[in-house]
């Protein structure tokens, strides 16, 4: 059953990836006027434009361009950067480390804060804590990430300088320095996501607080804390895994902003730099890369979900 489900899920991402490819392909063709002119600038020679058009394949019919482009992508060829003339795949993979590090620390930090918060709020659900928590999560979702980042830079980088406010140290140069540089950016990314995940966890925990099996557990004479941890929390965890998958989208968007503010040389910063340079092959490559990562992460989460909860497989 699990194998069948896995195969079905794998097949189902094919049309998704196809739509992703069409959208990424169209990015270049949405530009007003000739993309080659845009990249090279107004005063470029016709020969240079013609050469770039040929390099990007812009001189062929649209459908043919798409098929060629798709063929290249399947073989892992995303073209060449117009700015540095390096293969786009190399350019992207050189930047993957910082972004994945930032994602990892942010997710870990989010879960470390969100899970105990949700459990505590459900445990004390009849007190003022619950409405307080709901309001706090709303506020958390309303803070502009980049502004919050500016405030924290002001607070912890300038006023009380305990964190570096710029740059990145690879993990190979020492875990301490790596974590030290990533902590402040991760706190900012986590702040927004904690509200969402803790809220979702609280909601699904509250739903199982009055289920029959919880009543039975209480009737057996189990302590409320045991009931909450063993019966309520473990059941609420399953739907929450899906939400973790969704927050990864938020994090991937957030890293673009945070990497720019903290000058972390990741994929997000590469994207912004490439937009300013009008380096369309790299823009396409980064967008495609992030979308594919996101699709794959969600596929993994779905499979994990099916492994944890057998009912899903029969859907």
């Amino acid at each position: 059953m699990l194998l069948q489900y896995t195969i079905r899920r794998l097949v189902s991402i094919i049309p998704v990836l196809l739509v992703v490819c069409v959208i990424v392909f169209l990015i270049v063709h949405l530009t007003p006027g000739n993309p080659a002119y845009l990249i090279l600038g107004e005063d470029s020679s016709p020969e240079a434009v013609a050469q770039l058009e040929a390099q990007l394949g812009l001189d062929k019919p649209m459908a043919e361009q798409f098929v060629d482009w798709l063929k290249n992508i399947v073989t892992g060829d995303l073209g060449e950067s117009v700015y540095s003339s390096e293969p786009v795949t190399d350019v992207i993979f050189a930047r993957v480390g910082p972004t994945f590090s930032l994602m990892l620390t942010s997710i870990v930090l989010t879960l470390i804060i969100a899970i105990p918060t949700a459990i505590f709020v459900v445990w004390r659900r009849h007190t003022v804590l619950d409405p307080l928590f709901t309001s706090a999560s709303l506020v958390g979702a309303s803070i502009p990430e980049f502004w919050f980042a500016m405030l924290l830079v002001l607070g912890f980088g300038v006023a009380v300088p305990i964190f570096p406010v710029a740059g990145y140290v690879p993990i190979s140069a020492g875990v301490g320095g790596w974590l030290h540089h990533l902590l402040l950016p991760s706190i900012i990314l986590a702040t927004v996501e904690v509200g969402l995940i803790a809220r979702m966890l609280r909601d699904s925990m509250l739903e199982s607080v009055n289920q029959d099996y919880t009543k039975t557990a209480r009737a057996k004479g189990l302590k409320e804390s045991t009931v909450l941890m063993k019966h309520v929390f473990s059941n609420a965890l399953i739907p929450t895994t899906t939400v973790v998958g969704l927050t990864i989208a938020g994090l991937l968007g957030g890293t673009v902003i945070i990497e720019t503010i903290f000058t972390i040389p990741g994929v997000g910063q590469l994207l912004i730099d490439s937009i300013h340079r009008r380096d369309y092959p790299v823009i396409q490559g980064v967008v495609l890369f992030i979308a594919v990562v996101y699709v794959l992460v969600n596929l993994l989460i779905d499979l994990l979900y099916a492994l944890l909860d057998p009912r899903i497989r029969y859907d």
């Binding site: 049309p15 530009t31 619950d130 979702a141 502004w147 968007g253 823009i283």
Partner: protein
């Protein structure tokens, strides 16, 4: 819904901001565009409540003025995304054949983190208010389609729909008169959240330098300029940010309010909180 204090405060804040920004030219004591080189980066004072920027312009006035673009972008994106999402969602939910095609496209679009999709589109189209609206509407409507579709699917087998079908009511009438009014509450809730998200996204795009033209005062543009002066003029950064947060928070609170007012499930949770259901579970 309006009986709750929280919803009233949220609605009041938004109305006040809208009226303030639309009438700003009449009542602002100092023009927000007036450059005064003798007053560069002055802190908050009686004459300049929020201080002045690097050109000596009044930050309070600019913050009020900038609300125009933010509210306009947010509202327009919310409306476009809602209309597009509702129409496609109704069709996808009602017609099984269309469902397959529409949902594959929607799934593909949802594979992009929305801010990223907007960034990519703005990168291609170029930064301007119109293009930001196009990019953000395109990024947010798939979510609306999904929500409307699942609401329609739940409704579809209801008896009164079946009855309408058998008595020969045409599909467009069933969709607009029978189904739409019944799925309106999730649409309004989601529309409000899109409004809030679009304001945040517009600010983020402008802050990143790929949004609205730098000459137009928007909260994102102000913060981008303020970033350079954050250590010497923190007020320049703080006030526009608070303005964004208050606006977005008001919208999110309104969305929550609508959700609670329409969702019986949420009401039950409130009762529980108030202790009405505190009695031993077995007594229920």
């Amino acid at each position: 819904m309006l009986k709750k204090k929280r919803n009233l405060i949220a609605l009041g804040t938004l109305l006040l901001l809208t009226v303030a920004t639309l009438t700003a030219f009449w009542w602002l004591p100092v023009s927000p565009l007036e450059i005064d080189s003798t007053k560069r980066l002055n802190g908050p004072s009686a004459a300049h409540w929020f201080g002045t920027d690097h050109f000596g312009r009044d930050i309070f006035g600019q913050t009020v003025m900038a609300a125009r673009v933010s509210l306009f972008v947010g509202l327009t994106v919310a409306l476009i995304a809602t209309v597009l999402g509702t129409v496609t969602g109704l069709i996808a939910g009602f017609y099984q054949k269309a469902d397959f095609v529409i949902m594959r496209i929607i799934d593909g679009m949802l594979a992009f983190p929305s801010l990223l999709l907007a960034l990519a589109l703005v990168a291609a189209l170029g930064g301007s208010v119109t293009n930001i609206i196009i990019a953000l509407s395109f990024s947010y409507w798939p979510v609306m389609t999904r929500i409307v579709r699942s609401a329609v699917l739940q409704m579809k087998s209801a008896q009164f729909i079946e009855a309408a079908k058998t008595s020969g009511v045409s599909d467009p009438v069933i969709l607009s008169r029978y189904i739409l009014p019944n799925v309106l509450s999730p649409i309004i809730v989601q529309g409000t959240f899109i409004f809030a998200k679009a304001i945040l996204a517009e600010a983020a795009l402008s802050f990143l330098g790929v949004g609205v033209e730098p000459s137009t005062p928007t909260w994102g543009n102000m913060l981008q300029e303020a970033q350079m002066y954050i250590t010497i003029a923190p007020w320049f950064s703080i006030f526009p940010g608070i303005a964004i947060m208050m606006t977005v928070l008001s919208l999110n609170m309104l969305g929550e309010g609508v959700r609670e007012a329409f969702d019986p499930h949420a009401k039950e949770k409130i009762k529980k909180k108030k202790g009405l259901l505190k009695t031993p579970v077995s007594a229920r």
